[in-house]
Each structure stands twice: as structure tokens, then as C-alpha cells.
Amino acid sequence: MNAIILTAVWGVVMMLGGAFIKSKTTPRYLAIGGLAVILIANCMQLNSGLSFFLVDVKGMLQFSSFNLTFINVAFGCTLLFFLLNGRDIEKVGENVSEYFALLFFILCGIAIISTFNSLLMLFIGIEIVSIPLYILTGSDKRNLKSNEAALKYFLMGAFSTGIMLLGIAFLYGGSATGSFFITNIISGNGPMPAMIAAGLVLLLVSMSFKVSAAPFHFWTPDVYDGAPTVFTSFMATVVKSAAFFAFVRLFENTFGNMHQQWQTLVVILIAATLLIGNLTAVFQQSVKRMLAYSSIAQAGFMLFSLFALSNLAKEGLVLYTAAYSLASIGIFAILIKMKDYTIDGFNGLAKQQPLLAITASVFLLSLTGIPLTAGFQSKFYMLMAAVQNGNHFWLVIFAVLCAAISAYYYFRIIQAMFFKENTEDTLLADDITPAFKILLVITSVLIIALGLFPNLLTSWLYF
């Protein structure tokens, strides 16, 4: 509860701050400080179940240590994101504190969808996440790309909302007791009534849309490409992770005991997502767009948690979200500093900015899933969960082959940075502050630490 309320409140604070604070940098510090406090508060709730607000949530929200840990991960990543990219947020437009306010509202939504227990909360939460995102996507108003992205995102997002609502309606209609609580929509594990099935498919589709799983991923590349890069970074990491978390929680609690009856759909989703994501990423010239596709590819791997729906899978999901978010935030942070977003723009970066190059390669290796990085551990968990599940082992094989393809495009950047010379020696990246470098190093250290000892994170999930 702490997280939800505090973020909402802090969002309001930021909003009002926008009205009174003229300085451009203050909102940043305000936001960072606030988020830190919120993080601590959430930790307190996680540790000792201590909540500042005694609210009877009527079972609509559920604050298990599992959910709270995920909120920690999401907020932690966001904090890192603020620290790394605060200055760049200021560059986007002039109403900085509004952006921060929106970001806080999104965090509030994230807190909701990672603790929801009723379809209503899910719906509201997702809307709270989406609507500010539409705005942030379009926040670079002069830039037509940004406009286009915003429009596309908005229209398709609204459309998917419609789909989701129809699904919810069918679930409500189909459920014997007529309830919106995810846990008692279905009782027993008999064959699925048609209405429930219809609702399931529609929900699956709309959630797949949110986590950009093929064939419902089409908005992703365009929106990620068009949105201001800072916000792309946020969207592609924290928001997507949260969506995944909601996705898995929803399906586990609602349809968990009919798992076998809808696994096929997930298999199709995974196969399509992995294939399209990886294959399309190969040819991209713009790193930003390539990362967009790679995020689709990574989603394919995360979907394994939906495929397996075991404790291992859920641990894996949290680990994966952490690993993926850390690495992507890092690589985006570096990308933002680059002058030229094409892969050739990275040529010879190792000469000019060795530290950037090294950390960047750590992030990329983690995304590829090389051992010693968190990326490997998370993929490893996912595959383990999938194998443990027992069906469709071929899917695992397929997944690892796709991972091999992913090495292909991630390493293109590494090659550019280390083994290619930049022909005209212009400055490749600018305003690299020492603090920024330190943060990058910290991030990579985190990644490697998680790669060595995933228990650091997973051990928080249950107790």
C-alpha cells in the first residue's frame, strides 16, 4: 500500500512543484529523493509488513512478499533510470516536473498491477500506466516521429483496452459466481466453458499486446523508435516488466489450474515472438530500433514463465525483469549520449570512451545471455522452468537457437565499438559526467553480481 499511495502523492507533489519551481534541475532531485524514500518505505513493508496507511482494500490488492519484491525491483530500476537519465529527461521539453509527475503516476499504476487481485484493479492499473505513456510518447511535440508514435500507440492501446474489456466481460459472464476476483472466476479444473475460453483468449491477446508479444507486437518498434529515447528506455524496461508481472499473475491465479488447456496458445506466442523479434532485429541499422526489436525477442523468453507457471518460472521472471531492465536501461543510457544512433555511430567508441564501451559490452553480453551476467542466469531459469514443465522441449531448443541469433545483432555493436575505427574522428558521445560513468560501473557490477549470485534477488521472493 505504501508504494501506491506514496507514488500517487508524490506525483501530485511533482505536479504542483511544476507550477512553483522555476529551476529546471530541482524536479530531478525532488523526484530522485522521493523515489528513494518510496523505495525504502516499500522495503519496510516487505521486511516487516509495516504499512503506513491502514486501508481495508477489500481483497482487491494483495501485498505478498513476492509482489512487493517485484515492486522493489521495478522502483529500483526506475531510481537507477532517474539517476542515469535525469539530465536527459530535462532535455526533452520544458515541463520537466510534469514528466516526472507522469512517471510517478506510472509507477503508481505499476504498483497496482503488480498487486491487483481483481480484474477491475487490473483494468484501472493498466490504464493508469498507459495513459501517461501515451503522453510521454508524444511529449516531444515538435518531432513528427514522436507525434506519429503517440497516435499509433494511443489508437492501438485503446483498441487493446477494448479487447481486454470484452474479455473481462466474458469472464464475468462465464464465471459461475459472477465475480471480478481473479482467484474465484474459475473453480475446479474441468473443461473450460466457452465464455471463459473466449474471455481467456481476449485477455491473452490484450496482455500480449501490452508486453508486445507477436503477433500483437506491431506497435512496439514504431513507438519505441518514435518516442523520446529516455522514455523509450523507461517503457521498454520497467513498464514492460510490470506488464509481464501482471500478465503472469493474472493467468496463474485465474486460469492456473486449467493450464494444460491453453498452453498451446502460449507456445504459439513464444515461437512467433522469438522468431519475429530476433529475425527482424538482425537487419536493423538504427540501434534504437534494433533494441526495440530485441525487447520483443527478450519478451519471447520472458513468456516462458507463462508457459511454465511454476515457482521456478516466477522467480525466473523477477530475475529476468531485473536483469533485462538493468541491462537495457544501461545500454539506452549510453545510446542517449551518442550523437548518431546508427550502429556505425558506435565505431571506435572504445578509443574515445573506453569505460562506456566496456560497460556497454557488459550490458550487451548480459542481453545475449553470456554466463557471469544476470542475463545468463535469467535465461537459465526460464529454460529450466520450461524443461521442468515437461511439454514442448522443442520450444527450448528453438529458443536457444534464437538466442544464438540474438548474439548476431548484439555483437554487431560490440564489434563496432572495439574493432572498427571511426573514419572521421568526430566526438561520438557528449556530456559524459563522472557520476554517469560511476553509475554505469555500478550497473554493470550489479549485473555481474546477479549473474554470480541470483539468490541475492530470488531469496527475497518468499518468506
Partner: protein
Amino acid sequence: MSNVFQLVWLIPLLPLLGFLINGLGRKQLSKTMAGIIGSGTVFLSFLISVAVFYSVTNGNTYVAHYFDFINITALKIGFDFQIDQLSSIFLLIITGVGFLIHVYSTAYMHDEEPKDFAKYFSFLNLFIFSMLLLVMGANYVIMFIGWEGVGLCSYLLIGYWFKNTNYNIAAKKAFIMNRIGDLGFLLAVFWLITKLGTADYQEVFANVSKLSVTDITGISLLLFVGAMGKSAQIPLYTWLPDAMAGPTPVSALIHAATMVTAGIYMIARSNILYTMAPVTQGVVAIVGLSTAILAATIALKQNDIKKVLAYSTVSQLGYMFLALGVGAYTGAVFHVMTHAFFKALLFLGAGSVIHAMSGEQDIRNMGGLKKYMRVTHITFLLACLAIAGMPPFSGFFSKDEILAAAFERSPLLWGVGVAGAIMTAFYMFRLYAMTFLGKFRGAHEQEHHVHESPKAITIPLIILAILSVIGGWIGIPEIFMHGGHRLEAFLAPVFAQSNALTVKHPLSHSTEYMLMGISVGAALVALIYAWSKFSKYQKTDVEETGLGKVLANKWYVDELYDAIIVKPVQSIAGYLSNIFEKKGIDGFVNGVGKAVNYSSRQIRLLQTGQVGTYVLMMVLGILIFFIIQLFL
């Protein structure tokens, strides 16, 4: 006497030391020093060998175990030496003849640079070492070590003048053909190991009864393949003539006296296997005989003095295999010995001639040398008589024994053998006559500096000449002298097992006399004819025609091999490396990459950038999911 056996390990070690000293110190050592070290070490081991020889006369066998070469539960191969009558004889031949040739070389190679001189001697010593290893080893693995070692040395020595590409090619050919033979040898050894779990002579021969007939036949045949390679039998004989590229002493030592007889040693060593495999015996006999004939025919038309000798070597080796094939192991060894004497002598003589003619090898440009080089001439003549099988020279006894044994098996073998003997007599005396008789046909400046060779060359010649005269008297057949065949008595323990298995039905004296008479008489006729024909030979530049041409071109065997083996292999290799590897396998691997790229370029077109199409896709997706979920 046993203390002698304690010294056995010195026999191979001394030449090895010589090799090391000469090899490492070749920059520092003077020629004389190198020569002394080279010959001295061999001489010492010769002395020890003599002692050893006398201590095995009483028929005992000595096996020395030094350390485990390979020792695992499945297989134990010790680094062991076995000294018995057979090996001691070979020890004598190798070290004795080897020593003479070392001495000879000191003079023959005198024009070499000091360091090359030392190198030469180190190689010679290395060869002696490997050869000794070959004959002393107490199991097939040690034998194989020596076996490949001598192959290596012959490679190094043939290619001694490494600047000349043809020599290198000849050396390579020798090595590779030997390798082909070794393949057979190895397979045989593996077979033994697989069936008996050991490669020790004594254990193998003791348990030979455990082997099935197929096993024995297979093993013995494969061993024989090895012998083909080393001892230059059909089809692997073509390297030997080319090997004449090496310095003449090398040809004398390796390609006449010792290495090429390794095959005979090996078969004699494993005689029991052959006695128990009649099929193999047949094969051996036939291969041997046909080699003898083929080589002889080729030798008829050769004009290079060393080539003639080389082919005669091949054909003599053929005789030895004939002997082995018909079970006359003693005869084979006997012939090895005598052949070692007179063939070494012939080569050394030829070397002396070449030396005198300052490198000229074509006998058409020689003639009338007898008045210039007395010693060489006499010794050479003696050797020719010996190889032609004229009594009482050594060759007569050994060859006669072989022919007799062949007759026992079948008169046909004998007949062909005699034909070979006749040709031998003919081409040897053609050679002799064209070289020493008639008048000098060489250039003038050559004539001026034709001279008798120095002592270091002539003395070995004389010693060998004596040996090739009297060498045969240790094997006088029964009919001349009772118990005259001392060699047979001496070797009896080695062949005891086989003799026990073979039923002897000795020829009546009359037949034996008749056979001898025929062969000797025929040979004599050929001899005289050749003498008279070629003593007044005139250089003519008429092209050889018909059969002559074929013979002069060695039945075109090299061309044949080139066409059916070398060329195909080369073209296959070319195809594989240029087409199959690049286009095929690597093409596939890169093709995967290309495919990924291509499909990437295609799939990304789905991303049309139009909301309409995106939503359409989504709706289609929904449709598919519905159908799957609700109706399947």
C-alpha cells in the same frame, strides 16, 4: 659369457651416441674427428656383436627387459631386446658391413663441407641405430620403431643433397611407399594385440595355436605387406631404383645390404606364422618370384650403373622372398648374408668407379677401366661372379639352396627362378663388360683423371671381396660335404617350430646335381654371351624399340602408378578443398547466416508503419487464437 649380454644395450647405444655427437657438434668437429666417431662407434658395436654371436652359438636365447614402454591393464609392451641366432647374424651383417661402409664413406664423401660431412655421418649412425633396434627388439612394437626409423634415415640420406628437388622427391617417394607398407605392418600388430593381447615374439609364438586360420593368414599377409614396402617387392618396389639419388655408400648400406632385408628378417623372425599359413606362403613365393623376374627384365636395359644394381637388388630380394615362400627360411637368411657381401661390394665398386669418373654414372660413357683401376676391377669381377651364382662363389650356394627348395615346392617355380638367374648373369656381365672392358668411351678430361681410389675405399672392397668369395662356405649343401651347412645348424633353434611342422622330402642327389648343372650352365652361357657381346660395345644413338623400349622405361610402372593413384588423389583433394569444402560445407554454414539475413529483410516488411495493417494483423491473430482455443 653372460656378461656379454649385459653389454647388449651398448650395441644400439653407441651409434646413437655417435649420431648425437656428430649431430650436435657438427659445426665444431673436423672431418677426421667426425669420421672416427662415426666409424668408431659402429666398430665398437661390431666387436660386441661378435662377442654376442659367439655366446649364442650354443643355441640359447637372451631377452633383456629395460623398462615398460606401454604398460596398462589391457596391454604390456616392454622396451625389450631379444638376442638369438637370427638377430646375432643380422647384428654381424649390420655392424660389420656398416663399419666397412663408414670407412669407405670417409674417403668417398671427402669433398663435402665439414658440417655436412658430420651430418652425413650422424645420419648413417642414426640409421645403424634404428636398424639395430629393428633386429634386436623383442616385440613387434620395438621392431616397428626401428622399422620406421630406418625408413626415416633412408629418407634423410636419399635427400641428403637437399638442394636438388628431384632427390627430395625421390626421398619422399621412398618414405611414403614405406609408410604404405607400414600400414600393413601396423594392422598386423594391432591384430595380434587384439587377439593375443601381446606383441612379444615369445608369447606370440607360444600362443600362436590360439589363433584361427583366418587370423594367422590375415596377420601374416599384412606383415608381408609391410615387408613389400621395406624390401621393395611388387607393387611397392619403385622407390628403390629412385633411391639411388642418395650417395653411393648409402645405396650400398641401406638399399642393398641392410634395410631392404628388414622384410626378410621380419618374416624369418615370425616364420611360424607363415608356416601355419600356406596361403600366405603361396602369395609370398609368387610375389617374390615375379618381382625377381620383373626387376631382372628391367635391369637388362638400364644404362645407369647404379640403376642396374638397384634392379638387381630388387630381383635378389625377390629370390629371398621366394625362399621364404617355399619355407626355406635358412636359405633366405643365407642369401641375405651373401647378398649383403657381394651387393655391398658391387655398390662400393660402382661408387669407386663413379668417384673415379667424377660423378659419371652412365655405363655407355665408360669402358676399359680395368687398366686404370685394378683393385676395383678385380673385386667387381668377383662380385659379379658371386651374384651370377658361379661356384664356388658365395652367391652360388645361397641361390642354389633357394632354387632347390623352390623345386621341392614345384618345378615351375624353379624354372622361372632359373630364368631369373640367367638374366642376372646376363645383365651383371653386361654391366661389367661395358664398364671395365672395351676401350674408354668417356670424355678426354675424364680419361686424364681416372685413377684408382684411395685406400679407405679399396680396403673395404678387398675385405668384402674376400667375404663374397668365401662367404658361402658356411652353407655347403649336404651333397658336397656332410654337415657342411653350418648356418642351418646354427639357425635351427630359431626355425625349430616351423621345421617341426614342415614335412621334408629331400631331393635325390641326382636331381640335385642335375638342377645345379642346369642353372649354373645356363648362367654360364648367358655370362659368356654378355661378355663377348658387350666387351666391344660401341656407343650408338639408335632409339630402343618394341620390348626394349618398354624395358628401358621399366614397363612404364611409374607412369601407371602416377595415372591410377597420384593423379586421382590429387584431383579428389582439389575437388574437396575447392568445391566441397568451400561451396558445400562452409557454403552451408554461411548459407544459414545469409538465410537469417534474408528472412530478416523480408519479415521486417511486415512492419508497414500503418495502424490499419497492424490492427488487421492483431484481429487475424485473435481469430486464429479463437479458432485454436474454441474449435480445436
